[in-house]
Subunit: 358 residues, 2 copies
Amino acid sequence: MAVRHELSGLDLDPRAREVLHEIVMQHIASGEAIGSRTLAKCGRFDLSPASLRNVMADLEDLGYLQQPHTSAGRIPTDLGYRFFIDHLMKSRALSVRDREVIDDQVGHANAIDQVLHLASSILSKLSDQVGVVFMPTLLQFAIRSMDFILVAENKIMCVIVGANGVVVNKVVETRFVFSRDELEKISRYITSEFGGCTLDVVRRRLIRMTEQERAQHDQMLQKTISLGIEAVNDVAPFDHELYVEGAASILNKPEYADTAALRKTFLALQEKEKLIEILETCLSEEGLQILIGSESDFTQIHNFSIVARRYGSTAAPLGMVGIIGPMRMEYARMAPLVDYLGRALSRKIEEDEQEQGT
Amino acid sequence: MAVRHELSGLDLDPRAREVLHEIVMQHIASGEAIGSRTLAKCGRFDLSPASLRNVMADLEDLGYLQQPHTSAGRIPTDLGYRFFIDHLMKSRALSVRDREVIDDQVGHANAIDQVLHLASSILSKLSDQVGVVFMPTLLQFAIRSMDFILVAENKIMCVIVGANGVVVNKVVETRFVFSRDELEKISRYITSEFGGCTLDVVRRRLIRMTEQERAQHDQMLQKTISLGIEAVNDVAPFDHELYVEGAASILNKPEYADTAALRKTFLALQEKEKLIEILETCLSEEGLQILIGSESDFTQIHNFSIVARRYGSTAAPLGMVGIIGPMRMEYARMAPLVDYLGRALSRKIEEDEQEQGT
DNA sequence: CTCTGGCACTCCCCCTGCGAGAGTGCCAGA
DNA sequence: TCTGGCACTCTCGCAGGGGGAGTGCCAGAG
C-alpha cells in the first residue's frame, strides 16, 4: 500500500482526491480547520456531510489530514500538501501586473548583486511572504577582470568583476605602499594574465608564483603577487550573499498570532547559516522545488515551507531564489511567481554574458 | 512655577527627587507600575507608604508621574524620564567587555561603510535594542578619487572614494563605448582635476564644461564629461545609507507583548524616510542626544525613545549612530554605550584621514 | 506643621462555570 | 452505498465573583 501511493499517488479514488483538493484549497484560503458541513455547502459535492465524514476519516487514516483536536474540522498534513502539490494543484497563471513588475525591475538594474537584492524584496512584496535570494561562493566562477584602486596609501580597494557580471569589491590593508600608477599597471597585468580563470585557480597560480625564482628578485612582481593573494584570499567571507527580505510579512499570518511563535520564527530567519545550508542542498537540482514542513530539518522545526528555484545560466547555475512562509500558503500562486522570477534572472544573466562576449 | 522648573529642574525638594529617582529606576528594572508600598519597602526612605503617597500625588500633579488606571501604581511620564535623565541619572560606566568588543570590531574593519554596518549590529547586540547607523548624503563631502572600471562594453562601474575614506560604487550604463585604456585615462584625469572638490561642485563644474566650446569638438572630452555626470548624478539614491539592525530585540520587551503593538512597531522601523528625517535633524548638534516619546513626532506616535550621537571628525560630522527602544530603557547604560561607540567611530575616521594625509 | 495608621473605595486580574456552536463517530434505515 | 439522526466532545466567549494591590482622605499623634 505504502509503495503504491509513494509511486503514483493514485491510490486515492477520484472522490477522495476531490475532497482533499477542496479541503486544502479552503484551508489555504481561510486558515481554519474544515468540517464536513462546510465542505458539503461548497457545492462541489452531491453528498451529505455524513458521507463526506467517511471520506475524511479515510483521508485521515492515510495520513493526508489531521484534526487539531477532537470535534474540530480537518487540516492538511505535510503529506496532504505534498499530494496536493504533486497531483491536484493547478498553477494559477501569473497576473500581468506581477509579470510587468518583475520584468521592469530586473530589466532596469545593472550590477548583478543589486538585482539580487532587489529580487528578494520584489518577491517578498508580490508574495507577501519572506523573500530569499542566495548567491553561493564565487570561488568556482571565472573572473573577467580585477582592478585595484587607491583608498589610502596602504589601503587598496579590490574590484573583481566575474565573467557573468557579478561585481565584488572589498578593501584590503597591505604591507606595501602603492602609488596610483603602480596599481594601474598591476590591474592591467592581473586582468590580462588571469582573466577567464576561476578565483580558485587564480589563487593557486599566485601562490605558486611566490616560489618561483623571478619573484624573489623582482620587487614589483612581489608586490603584485602579494596584493593579488590578499584580494583573492579574503573574498571568502564575502562570498555567499544571502538576502532575506520582508520578515515583517509574517506578522499578518494567523499561524503566528501568538508572540511565542512569532519570536521563534524571527530568530529562525536570523540563522543565516541554516538557511544557506538548505538552499545549498537545493542548488544541485534544476527547476522549481518545494519543501514542505517535515521534508527537511529546518522547515520541520519551524513549520515552514520553502518554494525555491535555481537561477543562472544552465551551464553555470548561480544561486537560489525563493520564498519562505508557513506551510499554509498559496502554492498555486507562489510556484509560478518564483518560477518566473528565476527565469527572469537567468535570462538577464545570459544576456549580460552574451553582451560581454561581443 | 512652570518657568522655574523649566529653567533648572530644581523646583523639586530633595525628597521628591529621591522618590522620582527610585520610581524611575524601579520601573525601568521591572516594567511594572510602582506603588507606595513597594517603594517603602526598598529601604531608601524612612517614611510610611502614606507619606510616600503624598509625595507621589505631588509628582503626579507636576506631570512627572502618571497612573495607568486608578488603583494602580505610578509610572514615569515623558517629562519624568526627561527630569531623570537631566538631573538624577548617574551613567553607569561601560563594562570592560563592552569596551573591548567595540574597540576590537571597529579597529579591525577596513572600509568605512563596512564599519558602519557592523556598528549598528554591535550596538544592537550590546544594548538589546534596535541599533541604527545613519550616513547622510555624500554630496557635501570632498572626494579623493574617482575610478572607472569596465564591466561590459557600455557598462561601467564607478568607484568614488571620499576624502574621509568612504567608498561608494555603482554601475552605470552609458551611450558611449569605452575601452579599458580610455577608462584609465579618464580616471586619472577626473581624479587629478576634481580631487578635493565636493560631489556637488564636481557635478556643477562638469555641467558647465558641456557648454564650453572645446567640449563640442573633442570627442574624448565629451565622453569623459558624460561619464562623469552619470557617475555623480545618480549617486543620490545611494547616498544616505541607513542601517537598522536587531529589530528582533523588541520581541523580548514586555511593552510589545501583544501582537498589534508589535506589528505597528515593526512597520514603523521599516519607514526609513521617517527615521532619516529625525536623525538628520539631530545631526546639527554635537554630543549625546536623547529623545523621549512626545519630544518628536516620530517617537511620540510609537512611544519610542532614541539615544543617539553624532560621529565623524569635529570638522566634518559624518552621521548619526544610536539606538531605538521603548521609552522604558536603561538610559544609564545606553548613554555611555552609544557615546563610546560614537567616539570610537570618530577616532577611527580621524585616524584614517591622518593616514591619508601622510 | 508633618507624619502616620486606618478605612472605605476602586479597579484589574484570574479563576470558574455555563451555554452555544461546531464537528465528530456511529448506527440504523432507505 | 448513502443518508439522517443522535449522543458525545471540545473550544470559545461571556458573565460573575473573589483576591489583591493601590489609592485618597481623614483624624490623631509628635
